[in-house]
C-alpha cells in the first residue's frame, strides 16, 4: 500500500525499499507456511503421531522470534528514499 501511494511518482522510494520489502514478504510467506505446517502437525498429533511436537515448537519459535522482524522491515520501507539518496557520490 505504501509503495502504491509513494513510489509511483517517486521510483527511488521503490528502489530504496525493495530489499526490505522482499524480506518482509519472505517472512510473511514463511509464516503462512508455518501456519499450514502447524495445522497439519496438530491434526497428526491428535491422531497419535508423537513426532509432531518438535515441529510445533519450531513453528512457535518462528512466530515468537523471527516474525517480529517484519516490523523492522516495514519501518525501513516507510522511511522512504530521502536519506538513502541525499548524498553526492563522492561523499561515499
Amino acid at each position: 500500500m505504501w509503495f502504491m501511494a509513494n513510489a509511483m511518482g517517486k521510483p527511488d522510494n521503490a528502489g530504496a525499499g525493495a530489499t526490505d520489502y522482499m524480506h518482509l514478504f519472505g517472512l510473511v510467506a514463511l509464516g503462512y507456511m508455518w501456519a499450514r505446517i502447524a495445522k497439519t502437525a496438530l491434526e497428526k498429533q491428535a491422531e497419535g503421531d508423537e513426532t509432531m511436537a518438535t515441529k510445533l515448537v519450531a513453528g512457535r519459535f518462528f512466530m515468537e522470534r523471527m516474525i517480529p522482524e517484519t516490523a523492522t522491515r516495514l519501518a525501513a520501507i516507510t522511511a522512504g528514499a530521502e536519506a538513502v539518496m541525499a548524498l553526492p557520490a563522492d561523499a561515499f
Binding site: A18, M22, F25, Y32, M33, A35, T40, T54, F61, F62
Partner: protein
C-alpha cells in the same frame, strides 16, 4: 568429517500431508506422483547423494578443477564417475519428456532431488543443474530438429549443457552484450566474443558440451531488443548425432573463486564458433525470461540445501561437544562438562536455522507444485493462477532463501567455535559455497527490484491480491484452531 542425511521424511510430510501433492493425480505427469512411488524415488536419490556425491564434497573443494595448456579442463577425482552414476540413474531427465528419454515426472520431484544433490555436493550437482537448464531452454524454444539432435543425449547425460550470458562488462545489464553472430547463409552463424563466469563451461566428464549463448546478430538493434539465443556445441554433431569436428569455442581460463571449486567456472572464448539460432531472432532475452522462474527456484533450492547441511552438522556438534555447564545446573554431571546444546544461545541459534529451513522447504515445494500445475492444467484459470504465483514467489524464493541461507551457514559455523574456522570440519566450505547463490542468476538486489518494480504492479496487482486472499482465507478458516501447549518432544 562433515556428513549429510537427505530429509526424505520431511519432503514427504510437506508434499503429501501439508501440500496435498496427490490431489493433482488426474493431471498429466502426476499419475506417477503418488506417495509410494515418490517415496521410492526420493530414497534412491537420497542414497546416491549421500553415498556418491557427499564423500567428494571436501575433496572436490580442495582439489578443484585444472585447466591444461591445450584448454582442456580436468574435474576433481571421482566427479566423472559420480556424474555418470547420476546420469545413468535417469536423474538428469527426471522431469523431462519421455519422448526424449526423460522420466516425465513433475518438476516438484526434481526440485526435491536437486535439494539433496546440492546439499551433498553443490559444485558437482551444478553440472547436472546447468544441463537441466539448457534442456529446458531447448524444450521451450528449440526447433524439432534441435530437440531431436540435443535432448536425448543431454537427458541421458552423455552431453552436458551451459548458459553463456555474462561478459566482462555486463551481467545484470545484458542489453550491453557485445558477442556477435554473423549469418553464414546456410542457416548457421559464426559467433565471436568472450563470456565469463560460465559454470561447467569445460570439463572432462562427457564427450560433448552444449553451449547456449546470447549474442547480437550483426545489424540487430542495440540494447535488449537485439539479442538472440544460439546453440554452439563444443563438438559439432553430424546429422546422425555422431560427433564431428571440434567447434571454435574454448576455455580461455578458469575463474579462481571463493567456493564451489569443484565446478569448472570458465572464461569461454568464441572465435567464430559455428552456432544455430534457438527460437526467434532478437527474442533471445525473452526466451531466457521464460526460464527465469525455474532457474530462480533452482538457486533458492541451493540456498536451502546449504542451510540444511550446515544445520545438520551444527546440531550434531552441539550434542557432542562438551563445554561449560548449563545455567540451571549440570545436565551431564558424570561428564567433565555439558554438551553445548544445553546453552540457550546455542539452542536459539540452531532453532533459528531449523525454523527457517522447514518453512523454506515448504515454500519451495508449494511453489514447485503451483508451477507444475501451471504447465499441465487444462483449466486456464488454474494455469494463470499458477503462473501468477510463480512470477511473484520466485524472486522471493531466490532472494530470501539465499540471503538467509548464507546467514544460516555462518551461524552454523559459529556453533563450532574455533573449529568452525578449520577447513577439516567442513563448516567454512558451506559458507563459501552458499555465498554465490546470493549473487548469480540475478543478484539479490535485482530480484528485489523485479519483485517491487514488475511483479507487484503486474496485471493490476492480481498476483499479490490472490496471495493475500489465500492467506486471509486460511487464517479465517482456522481462527478457532487451538494450538498445542506441549513443548517437550522426543
Amino acid at each position: 568429517m562433515p556428513s549429510y542425511k537427505a530429509p526424505v521424511a520431511d519432503t514427504l510430510f510437506l508434499l503429501y500431508d501439508v501440500l496435498g501433492f496427490d490431489r493433482h493425480s488426474n493431471l498429466p505427469g502426476f499419475a506417477d506422483a503418488g506417495r509410494d512411488t515418490v517415496e521410492t524415488i526420493l530414497e534412491e536419490g537420497a542414497k546416491l547423494c549421500e553415498k556418491s556425491f557427499q564423500p567428494l564434497n571436501r575433496s572436490g573443494d580442495l582439489q578443484g578443477c585444472v585447466r591444461l595448456a591445450n584448454g582442456d579442463v580436468t574435474t576433481p577425482n571421482g566427479f566423472k564417475e559420480a556424474f555418470k552414476a547420476f546420469a545413468e540413474g535417469g536423474w538428469i531427465g527426471l522431469a523431462a519428456g519421455p519422448e526424449y528419454g526423460g522420466q516425465g515426472l513433475p518438476h516438484t520431484v526434481a526440485a526435491a532431488i536437486n535439494e539433496y544433490a546440492s546439499a551433498a555436493n553443490m559444485a558437482l550437482a551444478m553440472y547436472a543443474g546447468l544441463t537441466q537448464g539448457a534442456i529446458a531452454a531447448l524444450v521451450l524454444h528449440g526447433s524439432d530438429e534441435q530437440k531431436k539432435l540435443y535432448l536425448p543425449k543431454m537427458i541421458e547425460g552423455s552431453w552436458t549443457g551451459t548458459m553463456n550470458l555474462t561478459e566482462p562488462h555486463c551481467g545484470t545489464d545484458l542489453g550491453l552484450i557485445k558477442t556477435k553472430a554473423v549469418p553464414q547463409g546456410d542457416g548457421s552463424y559464426k559467433i565471436t566474443g568472450q563470456k565469463i563466469f560460465i559454470s561447467a563451461g569445460e570439463h572432462d566428464m562427457t564427450e560433448n558440451i552444449v553451449h547456449l549463448v546470447l549474442a547480437r546478430i550483426e545489424g540487430a538493434p542495440e540494447g535488449t531488443k537485439g539479442i538472440s539465443l544460439f546453440v554452439a556445441p563444443k563438438v559439432l554433431p553430424g546429422a546422425d548425432g555422431s560427433l564431428g569436428e571440434r567447434n571454435a569455442v574454448s576455455c580461455g581460463a578458469l575463474e579462481h573463486k571463493m567456493g564451489i571449486h569443484g565446478n569448472s567456472t570458465c572464461v569461454m572464448n568464441y572465435d567464430g564458433a559455428t552456432a544455430w539460432l534457438v527460437g526467434e531472432e532478437n527474442r533471445g532475452l525473452a526466451a531466457m525470461f521464460t526460464m527465469m522462474n525455474e532457474a530462480r527456484l533452482g538457486v533458492g533450492v541451493q540456498g536451502l540445501a546449504q542451510s540444511d547441511v550446515a544445520y545438520q552438522n551444527a546440531a550434531a556438534y552441539a550434542k557432542d561437544r562438551l563445554q561449560g555447564r548449563s545455567l540451571t545446573g549440570a545436565k551431564e554431571a558424570a561428564k567433565p562438562a555439558d554438551p553445548i546444546i544445553v546453552h540457550p544461545d546455542v539452542r536459539r541459534t540452531l532453532l533459528s536455522i531449523k525454523a527457517f529451513n522447514e518453512a523454506a522447504r515448504a515454500l519451495v515445494l508449494w511453489t514447485a507444485i503451483r508451477g507444475d500445475v501451471a504447465h499441465v492444467s487444462e483449466d486456464p484459470k488454474e494455469r494463470q493462477a499458477g503462473e501468477d504465483h510463480m512470477g511473484l514467489m520466485t524472486p522471493i524464493i531466490k532472494g530470501v532463501i539465499t540471503d538467509v541461507g548464507f546467514d544460516n551457514a555462518v551461524k552454523a559455523q559459529q556453533m563450532f567455535g574455533g573449529h568452525g574456522y578449520i577447513a577439516e570440519w567442513g563448516m567454512e566450505q558451506f559458507v563459501r559455497d552458499a555465498r554465490i547463490a546470493m549473487i548469480y542468476e540475478g543478484a539479490n538486489g535485482v530480484q528485489a527490484m523485479d519483485l517491487v518494480g514488475r511483479k507487484l504492479p503486474r496485471d493490476g496487482g492480481r498476483a499479490i491480491m490472490a496471495f493475500f486472499k489465500e492467506v486471509d482465507g486460511f487464517l479465517k478458516d482456522n481462527a478457532e484452531t487451538q494450538g498445542s501447549n506441549r513443548s517437550s518432544s522426543r
